[in-house]
């Protein structure tokens, strides 16, 4: 077979595959971030929707650390692999050309935008890159909080020991400096005592996911935003060159190395909460998606979890009065496939027509009705504490900028920076200089600067 013939055959093959896919009944494909909400889609909403309408919904759950890369690849490749995709406000750039303006659908099908708090609408539905459009629907807007073992914190032995060592009462830390002290206090080897009992395995004071890439970046950037860093100002002048960035990094590295378990370096997102559930952690930074894990029935921590906002970074640049993570979690895009209208109908059915059910199953709360619903507040014993804390977390969050470069200059920049500082491959100053240079170059290339 000569090469030209072969190329023709190859092209014909791919064309045949494409037409074959189009000839099938409607199937909606959705790229999902792992978590309870993804399980809820796959196990509950998709089968129910198929029963009601005959339309098949396939939720494809991708590993957290590959989701963005894979979605970029597919979007740029024009593969139409997914009709719907996970929307994280910082990731918008790469997919932007394939993301539909949802305004016509919202009007046509009567989707109620005012059901979401303004901050959520700002962050998850609109983007400065596409003024005047709604580009996504929120599904899991979320920001992390601090959880701690209330039973150990209130144990008299621990209280006395802490007071003797630090001269103040042992309570949920209000500042990051206090967090480090408490975390170090609770970091103990197997065989030592904890709340009157001998430890069978090592105990760690605090953790967040520290895995390469997404894991450590998310954990670090939460502290960085709490210190009042935005990335750049209105004139696109980077502020990541500020000395506070290195202060935060040194603090973070110290905390992570001395109080978090080594296994955390394998974790991308929520994996570490199982260790909290099993009674091997005193505190953890927890995204709300994880509450089901730490309160698993029969777990060591169940019923003993204390919830509070992230601590304050003293001397932060913006005068925050509590820890201020970015508003993360996500929503759902609709891509420019022939199934767009059907995809929107499905989402509206799930998020609006079944709003309380969505909250209940996905363990995600973002619509006003979720916080007002008596049914939800009393659904599980721990919701009475967890829900108000989460409502308070959402009062002070950073809304990420919607420019296409965000992923590269801020998220990717933070990944490089903290990876190299954490590993010691570069000094904080070197890594910082690199970050500022790359950001400036990217802004120049994009025409924002000079």
């Amino acid at each position: 077979m000569n090469p030209y013939k072969f190329t023709l055959v190859a092209l014909a093959m791919s064309a045949a595959i494409a037409t074959q896919a189009a000839a099938q009944d409607i199937t909606l494909r959705w790229a999902l971030h792992p978590g309870a909400e993804a399980d809820a889609v796959v196990e509950y909403f998709a089968p129910r929707y198929e029963e009601e309408t005959g339309i098949k919904v396939i939720g494809e759950i991708l590993p957290a650390n590959q989701l963005r890369d894979q979605m970029s690849i597919e979007a740029i490749g024009n593969t139409n692999r997914w009709d719907m995709g996970y929307h994280s406000p910082g990731w918008f750039g790469t997919f932007a050309p394939h993301v539909l303006d949802l305004t016509p659908f919202i009007e046509k099908h009567g989707f109620d935008v005012s059901a979401y708090p303004d901050l959520v609408v700002n962050s998850h539905m609109t983007s400065s890159a596409r003024e005047g459009e709604y580009i996504a629907l929120p599904t899991t807007p979320a920001a992390p909080m601090l959880i701690y073992r209330a039973d150990w914190f209130s144990h008299p032995d621990e209280q006395a020991a802490f007071e003797a060592q630090f001269g103040r009462a042992l309570e949920a830390p209000g500042t990051f400096a206090e967090l480090r002290e408490v975390a170090e206090f609770f970091t103990r080897d197997a065989g030592e005592m904890l709340a009157g009992e001998e430890l069978e395995r090592d105990l760690y004071g605090w953790t967040d996911a520290l895995g390469a890439g997404v894991g450590i970046t998310r954990s670090f950037i939460v502290v960085l935003y709490s210190a009042g860093i935005s990335g750049w100002d209105d004139d696109f002048q980077p502020d990541v060159g500020h000395p506070i960035v290195n202060e935060v990094a040194e603090y973070f590295v110290d905390l992570a190395k001395n109080t978090a378990p080594r296994e955390a370096q394998n974790w991308g997102f929520l994996e570490g909460l199982e260790m909290f559930r099993d009674g091997r952690l005193a505190m953890a930074t927890m995204w709300p998606q994880g509450v089901g894990i730490v309160e698993t029935e029969g777990g060591d921590a169940t019923g003993n979890v204390g919830y509070t906002t992230l601590p304050l970074w003293e001397g932060n640049l913006k005068g925050f009065t509590q820890g201020t993570p970015f508003l993360g979690g996500g929503g759902v895009f609709i891509f420019d496939t022939p199934n767009a209208d059907e995809a929107f109908k499905f989402l509206k059915w799930m998020l609006q027509d079944n709003e309380v059910e969505w909250g209940k199953r996905s363990l995600q709360f973002s619509r006003k009705a979720h916080f007002q619903s008596e049914e939800l507040r009393t659904l599980r014993p721990y919701y009475t504490e967890f829900l108000p804390t989460f409502e308070q977390v959402l009062q002070s969050v950073f809304i990420r900028q919607g420019i296409p470069e965000y992923g590269a200059v801020m998220w990717g920049g933070a990944t490089d920076y903290i990876t190299d500082v954490y590993s010691g491959d570069l000094s904080p100053e070197q890594a910082q200089e690199r970050w500022v240079t790359n950001m400036t170059e990217a802004f120049k290339a994009a025409g924002y600067l000079e």
Partner: protein, 296 residues
């Protein structure tokens, strides 16, 4: 005369279609890799490409991370090379002894690591061999009262662990080549040496090694090319971490090109790998020819 011409054209008729296809599917991406490497190509602004000359290369070479990845790649490649050759030679030498029974069966089973899917091999080593608490290696160490390190999470040990895992995958090739070569060494040679009072070690050093020189060279280049470009195994084993301890050039190119969406830089890293390998290939082929001539 006609005979010669017909034999000449006959060969080309068989050769041409494949040659064309091969040239096409290898040189097009290669050319495009070079083209992208001298352009500004960001995935998030894919339609906005501009010629930038060698700027991507300069950016890469000035980046300490590139130097680090290059260093890691060289260490990884040399580590795999040495380990696979030494172990492969020892095993092949033992296996080639006349006293060993069922030699083909042994050889068949020794080949298993080579056919195991590298991604899966990485998973197996990560979760069940190197794992800190319940992994096989730490369990064995623990039984002898040894320490239980975090092999893959420690910067000091991660690269070594990756080298061991990858050598596990590559050694069967070395065993196969050396074994095949050893079986061609005539028995009389060994017998003569033994009557002269040589032990196994002397046999290996003075008789076997010199005879295996061309095979050694041959397997070296196979191992070097394979280890130099390795991606799958490291990707599923450590993902390039902890930090950048196992970020070899292949992974670094992916990291810049896809994760950081900077395809210009990604392609310039990849193309620099190609150039390094091209030089290695040239050296190898020259040396190989010389050794063969020398042998003949």
């Amino acid at each position: 005369m006609t005979n010669m011409r017909s034999s000449f054209t006959r060969g080309w008729w068989f050769l041409a279609p494949g040659l064309l296809l091969m040239t096409l599917i290898v040189s097009v991406p290669l050319f495009m890799a070079f083209r992208y490497s001298i352009h500004r190509v960001f995935l998030y602004r894919f339609d906005d490409q501009a010629f930038v000359g060698l700027a991507n290369y300069l950016r890469a070479f000035r980046d300490p991370l590139y130097i680090n990845a290059l260093k890691t790649t060289v260490l990884f490649t040399l580590g795999c090379l040495v380990l696979s050759i030494v172990l492969g030679l020892l095993v092949a030498f033992m296996l080639s002894s006349r006293q060993v029974r069922l030699r083909p069966t042994w050889l068949a089973l020794f080949l298993v690591p080579f056919v195991v899917t590298p991604v899966v091999a990485g998973i197996a080593w990560r979760f069940f061999m190197w794992q800190q608490e319940f992994g096989v290696i730490n369990s064995i160490l623990g039984a002898f009262g040894g320490p239980s390190p975090y092999w893959l999470l420690d910067r000091e040990t991660a690269l070594a662990a990756a080298i061991v895992s990858n050598s596990w995958h590559l050694t069967p090739l070395a065993i196969l080549v050396f074994y095949a070569a050893l079986t061609t060494i005539p028995d009389e040679l060994f017998k003569a040496a033994r009557t002269d009072g040589a032990g196994p070690i002397q046999l290996l050093w003075y008789i076997v090694l010199p005879m295996l020189r061309p095979h050694m060279l041959f397997i070296s280049i196979i191992l070097i090319t394979s280890a130099f470009r390795e991606f799958d195994m490291i990707w599923s084993l450590t993902g390039g971490g902890p930090g950048r301890a196992t970020t070899v050039l292949s992974i670094f190119a992916y990291d810049r090109g896809i994760a950081n969406q900077d395809m210009g830089m990604g392609n310039s890293i990849a193309f620099s790998m190609f150039i390094i390998m091209a030089v290695a290939a040239w050296i190898y082929i020259t040396v190989y020819r010389r050794v063969l001539e020398h042998e003949e």
